[in-house]
Symmetry: C2
Subunit: 475 residues, 2 copies
């Protein structure tokens, strides 16, 4: 090369001496290959050299004045963003590092390396599926705190898109405060495959998919997001309550692809319940049982009904009017939501459980379960009141009713209406608070108790936001 | 080199062309340097080449059949273990990676790279300062779970040494179940500098210092550990309650040197209090105040005294007999321990506070504060009983006493004996449980409550163990 005045920009040869890679200017490439072929004619004939290959579509990224720590960060960022490094070389003082990447990847790679190495500002590119109360509150929170996040944490969260049940908007530079009207006016599809393709084409780093829907199809699409290299945060509980095979396969995929999936709000909204359980499992603290009031709406209903002298139907309609229950409160009363939370915790502690394994007491009286529409059900509320009056009349003055989920290490899981004595932790619940008791080996029969507002759009959005910030610290 | 039959084992030249590094066999080194000096005589004269330097004491570590992900892990491990990489080179297919390190570092480097790349088994090398009840319980826990940890988490925790108030033992391969008698028989010093030198000489990876003492000198030595490249886990609260300048300097040092310091057990033993507060701060959830019963012993004393019709002194002596209090219970009664916990939380939420800023109500009656020895104080217990009888007599039947620490975002911190109405969360405390209420912006006037056994050697050791496992996942 030297004899023919071809300057070698970069060279890297690992100690096996099995191959040597170097970079020359594009205008010299043809000449360089010809020269090598001529020079090594005999070696090629004798197969001492198997191939001389040429790749024109590459770029060099040079990091100067930084040490090996920068290299580690750069490589880590590039790997997370699925960018292949053709060659790596450094100068002997470590202050000059060169990375060779494909031209296709170079702009994304530059972003990644720049942000990683200079710790300048890390950007999360977030696509929000769902703009219900939680999704909307979350997006507003992100947009409102955007400047302070950049300033205090060097973290920039771009909302690159939002979809609802019929359409979507997308902007690779990030949406502004007018995102809602933009979504209203949009005519773009919300098809998952199309969205994934769009995001991939934009070549964005650190893409996080936010699922604030309760949509099963979306939950079933999580593997697609992971395969595309995205991380996931969900308040949607469905992915964690799908049949065990699916759950385990998805866990395996996450692990294989080294992607993150956060879902702290699946149980107890913003309360640190899943994380506490995860930490205990991580530290091999054996959890023997978990028991609690998992539903804010049912907490409110039975706290009020036990405390006050009001017909059950009045308490129920009050809770509905306050927005504590679903529009059709039977979705709360049937107990499935509590059961789903229980199942999620059961799987966290390693139980191989399915939804069908849970013994659920449906709070809708049996003879009223076949009514289809809420409007029709409403005309039977007197019967519901009578049903709960009968139950209440059997309590003594020292007892209250609580709708409790409980799981045991042996696999038994129940969701049922129980009576508890006044003075017990569960009896002390107030308002719409949730409370979880965790019984472990070290703590014996004195549980760790976590209590607080465990439902509502604002605290759920807070919890999702907390997951986002945490994602920002690991990506 | 080629013309003179000197084989180049590895070469790396970054794209600046400002330096080029390569490795030849040691027997060729002299000849190679001479050749270069001859060849580049003119360039050296004209200063186009500034130096040709030679380093004989290097080794090549070759990673074959692994991709760039392996390189990231290897570099990350080497950096954490303070091993400098002279040169890095890879083959173009990425399946061959070579790292050049100093001979001095090569055996440590090989361990690190092997463990990092093959994810074989990560080893934490733990030195335990202190073998009191917590330290001892922790060491036993580690030794007992050692096999299951390796099997299930691919994490090996070696207890490489233990020190008590007068001496120490050290074994770079890890202590066995007979460590206590070995320590008894030992005549080795517990001097911190000597211990650090010993650990450094052994060339161990991932060294974690465990401080289960209540020793101030040890807390003051933390910067030395960090400078030696060690991480720290402490149940000792002192480092976090030293004057603010020291606290901030140490934080800065940790950050600079990229070392970890975990101390979850400083408040509420194994309860997830510090971590919950940290997560909230990380997620920019504004914490407005924190209030709670932080002391297990004082929880027990006032829960029992409020509930039962017993003289205060009897309750106190009962708590002492059960091991809930210090041998001299005035160390609990003075309130300093509660105040220290409060200060730690205050600093977590960003308050620039010092111990002196806390308003502490000392539970020892004022006229008895000058008594020196506990034995002398004991003879005045009737007066203490009378003092608390007077306080109790002023309560109505719906009130109970609690010794509560409270901090406010505005910087106000108090530790005092308060009356609370029955039915309030604090009034519901039982036994020796701790309870912390966290009031935040999103949760408004409904706090997040965390409650459970907040003291005792076994749950504290559990918490330290949990910190250790967590350390294993970040190192």
């Amino acid at each position: 090369m030297s004899n023919d005045n071809i300057s070698i920009r970069l060279i890297s040869q690992a100690s096996s001496e099995r191959s040597i890679g170097f970079v020359v200017n594009l205008e010299d490439a043809e000449r360089a290959v010809n020269l090598l072929q001529k020079e090594f004619k005999n070696e090629i004939l004798s197969k001492d050299i198997s191939t001389i290959s040429r790749n024109d579509a590459i770029s060099i990224i040079a990091i100067t004045g930084k040490h090996n720590y920068a290299l580690e960060k750069a490589i880590s960022g590039l790997r997370k963003n699925k960018i292949w490094l053709h060659l790596i070389a450094n100068s002997i003082n470590g202050e000059h590092i060169s990375l060779v990447v494909s031209n296709n990847d170079v702009s994304k790679a530059l972003n990644v390396v720049h942000n990683q190495v200079f710790g300048a500002i890390k950007t999360l590119n977030v696509f929000s599926l769902g703009k219900g109360t939680v999704g909307k509150a979350l997006i507003q929170q992100v947009l409102q705190t955007s400047e302070s996040l950049v300033e205090r944490r060097k973290l920039k969260i771009n909302i690159i898109g939002v979809s609802n049940s019929s359409k979507s908007i997308f902007s690779e530079v990030g949406l502004g405060l007018d995102w809602e009207s933009a979504l209203d006016k949009s005519s773009e599809t919300n098809d998952i495959e199309v969205l994934i393709a769009k995001i991939k084409t934009a070549g964005l780093e650190n893409v996080v998919i936010l699922d604030n829907t309760a949509n099963k199809d979306i939950a079933l699409s999580y593997p697609k997001f992971v395969l595309a290299g995205f991380d996931i945060i969900a308040s949607n509980k469905i992915a964690n309550t799908l049949p065990l095979d699916h759950y385990n396969d998805f866990r395996k995929l996450l692990n294989q692809k080294n992607r993150n999936f956060y879902y702290e709000t699946n149980v107890g909204a913003g309360l640190p319940i899943i994380d506490t359980v995860k930490q205990m499992v991580l530290a091999d603290e054996q959890i023997n049982s978990i028991k609690g009031v998992f539903s804010g709406s049912l907490s409110y209903i039975f706290n009020t009904f036990s405390e006050e002298n009001k017909p059950f139907a009045d308490v129920l309609m009050e809770a509905r009017a306050k927005g504590f229950t679903e529009p059709d409160p039977r979705e709360d009363l049937c107990g499935n939501d509590v059961a789903r939370k229980l199942l999620i915790l059961a799987r966290e502690i390693g139980l191989e459980s399915n939804f069908e394994d849970i013994d659920i007491v449906n709070l809708v009286p049996e003879n009223l379960r076949n009514i289809d529409k809420w409007e029709d059900f409403e005309s039977h509320l007197d019967e519901v009141t009578q049903y709960y009056e009968d139950i209440k009349s059997k309590l003594n003055s020292n007892q209250v009713l609580r709708y409790v989920g409980e799981l045991n290490r042996n696999g038994k899981m129940t969701v049922s209406l129980i009576t508890c004595d006044k003075g017990s932790p569960l009896s002390n619940l107030k308002g719409a608070d949730s409370m979880i008791e965790i019984y472990t080996d070290s703590y014996g029969d004195k549980p760790i108790i976590i209590q607080g507002a465990g439902a509502g759009a604002s605290v759920t959005a807070r919890g999702v936001y907390s997951d986002l910030i945490r994602m920002g610290s690991v990506l």
